[in-house]
């Protein structure tokens, strides 16, 4: 058994009430990611130990899901809505233009300085605002929705995000 460090003890305290073999793995992963922004190797180990699972099982399961991440998040995450109502409003053009501004190749990529990442998002039923993107700060759990975008507006937003000048609009949602 690895040495109990302060870091491990803190992770363990987040999940101490969860029981093994009780359908609690997703919850444990969510709690830890909510706290640290990602799932470190150490965290996966502690979760495995606590829930009496093999670390390989924990990683194998966690890596199945898009929302779990295994590296610290970028300072800003742009989540691009891939849904149908947005596609009908040239969201593909918005995606390509934002990628170009960030000088990134495809969704899922991040800038070398870790300032920005752009990821694929799913429609959550605010389609009256199509086309839309979410601008997120993972660590602070802040999420801004910017809707009824034009490509030009998306480019301007992407430029302010790149320059670190983006100011939240207050259309935040809980997360």
């Amino acid at each position: 058994m690895p040495l109990e460090t302060e870091a491990r003890a803190e992770i363990r305290s987040l999940i101490s009430d969860l029981k093994p073999d009780d359908g609690k793995l997703l919850d444990a992963l969510h709690r830890v990611q909510h706290r640290y922004g990602y799932l470190s190797d150490e965290a996966l180990e502690v979760i495995a130990e606590h829930l009496k699972m093999f670390p390989s099982h924990v990683y194998g399961a966690a890596s199945f899901y898009d929302e779990y991440r295994f590296d610290p998040p970028a300072a800003t995450t742009v989540r691009w809505c891939s849904g149908p109502a947005c596609r009908l409003e040239n969201s593909n053009g918005i995606r390509d233009a934002m990628l170009a501004v960030f000088k990134l190749k495809e969704l899922g990529d991040r800038t070398d300085d870790n300032q920005v990442e752009i990821i694929n998002g799913q429609c959550n039923g605010a389609c009256e605002l199509a086309p839309l993107i979410w601008i997120e700060k993972q660590i602070e759990h802040k999420r801004d929705v910017v809707g009824k975008l034009s490509v030009a507006r998306a480019i301007e937003l992407a430029r302010t995000i790149s320059n670190g000048e983006y100011v939240e609009e207050g259309n935040e949602t809980a997360f």
């Binding site: 073999d21 359908g23 609690k24 793995l25 997703l26 919850d27 992963l29 969510h30 829930l51 699972m53 194998g60 399961a61 199945f64 899901y65 898009d66 929302e67 779990y68 891939s82 849904g83 149908p84 109502a85 596609r87 009908l88 040239n90 593909n92 053009g93 918005i94 390509d96 233009a97 934002m98 170009a100 501004v101 694929n120 799913q122 429609c123 959550n124 039923g125 605010a126 389609c127 009256e128 605002l129 199509a130 839309l132 929705v145 809707g147 034009s150 490509v151 030009a152 480019i155 301007e156 992407a158 609009e169 207050g170 259309n171 935040e172 949602t173 809980a174 997360f175």
Partner: protein
């Protein structure tokens, strides 16, 4: 004999206890709800739901509270759920002591003073934002039941009757509107689990998440399962993009779902339940958790519910962004902490579900109808709908229409009437297709509109399905293949990876669509697409099996568009990047330098006054034409217009 008598008396007193416990809970709740409807001083409710929040509702609420406090106004501020007209969000409702209740929208920060003034003195300061009445009368406003958007809804809403009328975070409001009464009555009337299942079978309640399988029949399977440890599972994964009907219940009336699950658990001998909610619905997670906690506090969930012998533990599992976890066996695997891969059947969930114990999975809406059927009887439930699909269901509408939102509609409602209430297709555009049933659904041609109704049978002749509530109206503004490429890519990304047919097939399909969109369509593409279709039929689950439908629909119903792309290499919509080009038509236009500045790839060449676009560099995003519509055009690309055949 004496023994039996004692048992009878004990049973009798137990039943009396149950009734008494419920009655005392109900008396308090009735009082609380009466005060909500006729408050001592005016109250302003901000609609807080995912769509409202995206439109800035939280900020509106914060500012309202701030201003009310600053002005020391004799007003209260609370929350409800949006009524369904999402294009008018954010919505605000004012309720006065006399019971008049008016909905306003869209309420922007600049309107807050008007709203507060209106709430205080009813002088009409916010009348310009008035949409309609929830209750009471007004000289110039209609009742929302008469709003054209809800023209096709039943006179009274059934499933979503509380939406807008309650605070979803209040179990008192739920109980004060006859909530938890079906469940309590089952216990104190001593209805047996068999009776409950029979009532549902009589009503013909069909599943709302998949194939419409009768809920009562599924419950019979679980009730009859050998093992005594049973699980009741709610599928709240709602993954179909463009469908958000389950969300309305999770966020708008979570107590209804929970009561439905408690009844289902009682009817099937389940001791434990899970509600699996998609990660994209954080507010749904919060509200459902809160509703569970409140029910536990009232003794309506947990051990010995209302003092009876029946116990039921319910908890929420939050998903983590996987579409295929909505497939019921994938869902079971995911709850167990495994990869969310659909299982191989048999065994079926009723034999081996969560933790390999007998389980039953139903959709959010299926459960939510249960208390209503039991409260009002099966014949009431059958008043709406068709022979094959009984009752009403929630639908969400989006796409190329002016009015995006949700409605509760009877099965069988004519689609042309529905389109009318959505405000018809956007001005200047023509309906081309109806995207129904999400990525595993269909593309129905506009020519079907006269005969299409909200019943699956009317979709079938088009090799199509109605699906689980999401309807996207598609106009001639965008090329359909953009949706096909999106869908096949989605299915591939979300494939669990078990079957090569499924992930490999959809990958190939996407590649073919992309090549066609790049202007390199081939004659044999159709043959290859059909081969992929055949292969996909051998996949393990519906994810793979249904995925070729939208592609098949493209070939069946949109032949002309497909041939134009592949044979003539023409895109009349000018929305496919590689088949179009951008060209400067007026170098002297005053907005041209703005277009140059916005271009994300510096594609403009030449000096000021002599700008042109470098076609190699241009990524066809369209920003320049938005900025300088009189200086840059998007047109068919000149060098690919020759046919291959």
């Amino acid at each position: 004999m004496a023994n039996m008598l004692r048992k009878e008396t004990k049973l009798h007193s137990e039943i009396l206890n149950i009734e008494n416990s419920y009655t005392s809970i109900k008396e308090n709740a009735d009082l609380a709800y009466r005060e909500w409807c006729n408050p001592i001083r005016p109250r302003i409710d901000v609609a807080i739901d995912t769509s409202s929040m995206a439109n800035g509702a939280l900020e509106i609420k914060r500012e309202l509270i701030k201003l009310v406090t600053e002005r020391n106004a004799a007003l209260d501020v609370s929350q409800n759920h949006g009524y369904g007209m999402q294009w008018l969000n954010p919505l605000v409702t004012i309720t006065w002591p006399d019971g008049t209740s008016i909905v306003y929208g869209p309420v922007k920060l600049g309107n807050i003073t008007d709203i507060i003034d209106e709430a205080i003195d009813r002088s009409g300061a916010a009348l310009h934002l008035g949409i309609g009445l929830l209750s009471g009368e007004h000289s110039s406003l209609i009742n929302l039941r008469e709003h054209p958007f809800f023209k096709n809804e039943p006179d009274e809403r059934r499933l979503i009757k509380r939406i807008g009328f309650t605070n979803p975070d209040s179990i008192e409001h739920y109980i004060g509107t006859r909530g938890w009464s079906s469940f309590a009555r089952i216990l104190y009337r001593g209805m047996t689990p068999d009776d409950v299942r029979q009532e549902l079978l009589d009503g013909g309640l069909g599943g709302r998440g998949g194939g419409g399988f009768p809920a009562g029949m599924k419950w019979n399977f679980l009730a009859g399962a050998s093992d005594s440890e049973h699980y009741m599972v709610c599928n709240a994964d709602e993954g179909d993009p463009g469908a958000w009907v389950n969300r309305v219940i999770l966020e708008g009336d979570p107590h209804l779902l929970i009561e439905g699950m408690a009844i289902a658990a009682y009817a099937t001998g389940s001791q434990r339940g899970f509600i699996y909610i998609r990660d994209e619905y954080p507010l749904g997670v919060e509200r459902v958790k809160n509703a569970i906690k409140q029910a536990e506090e009232k003794g309506l969930l947990g051990n010995n519910i209302l003092g009876s012998q029946f116990s039921f533990q319910l908890e929420v599992v939050r998903g983590a962004g996987s579409y295929v976890c909505g497939e019921e066996t994938g869902l079971l695997s995911s709850i167990q902490g495994q990869r969310g891969q659909p299982r191989i059947r048999p065994p079926f969930p009723a034999q081996a579900g969560v933790f390999m114990k007998p389980s039953n999975v139903n959709n959010v809406e299926t459960f939510s109808h249960v208390p209503l059927v039991l409260q009002n009887g099966s014949s009431w439930y059958k008043e709406y709908g068709t022979e094959a699909m009984r009752g009403t269901r929630l639908f969400s509408f989006s796409g190329d229409i002016p009015y995006t939102g949700f409605m509760e509609l009877p099965f069988g409602t004519p689609m042309k009437d529905v389109l009318e209430s959505c405000g018809n297709i956007n001005p200047g555009e023509k309906l081309v297709a109806i995207q129904s049933g999400g990525p595993l659904g269909s593309l129905v041609p506009a020519s079907a509109l006269p005969t299409l109704t909200l019943e699956n049978a009317s979709f079938v002749p088009y090799d199509a399905m109605m699906g689980s509530g999401g309807i996207v109206w598609v106009s001639d503004r965008t090329h359909l293949i953009i949706l096909n490429e999106y869908i096949s890519d989605f299915v591939e990304e979300e494939s669990c990876g078990r079957c090569t047919t499924c992930h490999g097939g959809n990958q190939r399909m996407t590649e073919i669509f992309r090549r066609i969109m790049a202007g390199n369509g081939r004659r044999e593409d159709e043959f290859n697409l059909k081969m992929i279709d055949d292969t996909l039929q051998h996949s393990n689950c519906v994810h793979g099996q249904f995925s070729p439908k939208p592609m098949r629909n493209l070939l069946q119903h949109f032949r002309h568009e497909y041939d134009a792309l592949v044979v003539d290499r023409k895109d009349s919509t000018l929305t496919i990047p590689a088949m179009t080009q951008f060209r400067v038509t007026n170098t002297a236009d005053r907005r041209i330098e703005d277009a140059v500045a916005i271009c994300p790839v510096n594609a403009f060449k030449g000096e000021v006054g002599n700008r042109s676009i470098d076609d190699e560099a241009c990524i066809r995003c369209g920003a320049c034409t938005e900025i300088a519509p009189n200086a840059v055009v998007r047109e068919a690309r000149a060098d690919i217009s020759q046919s291959i055949i």
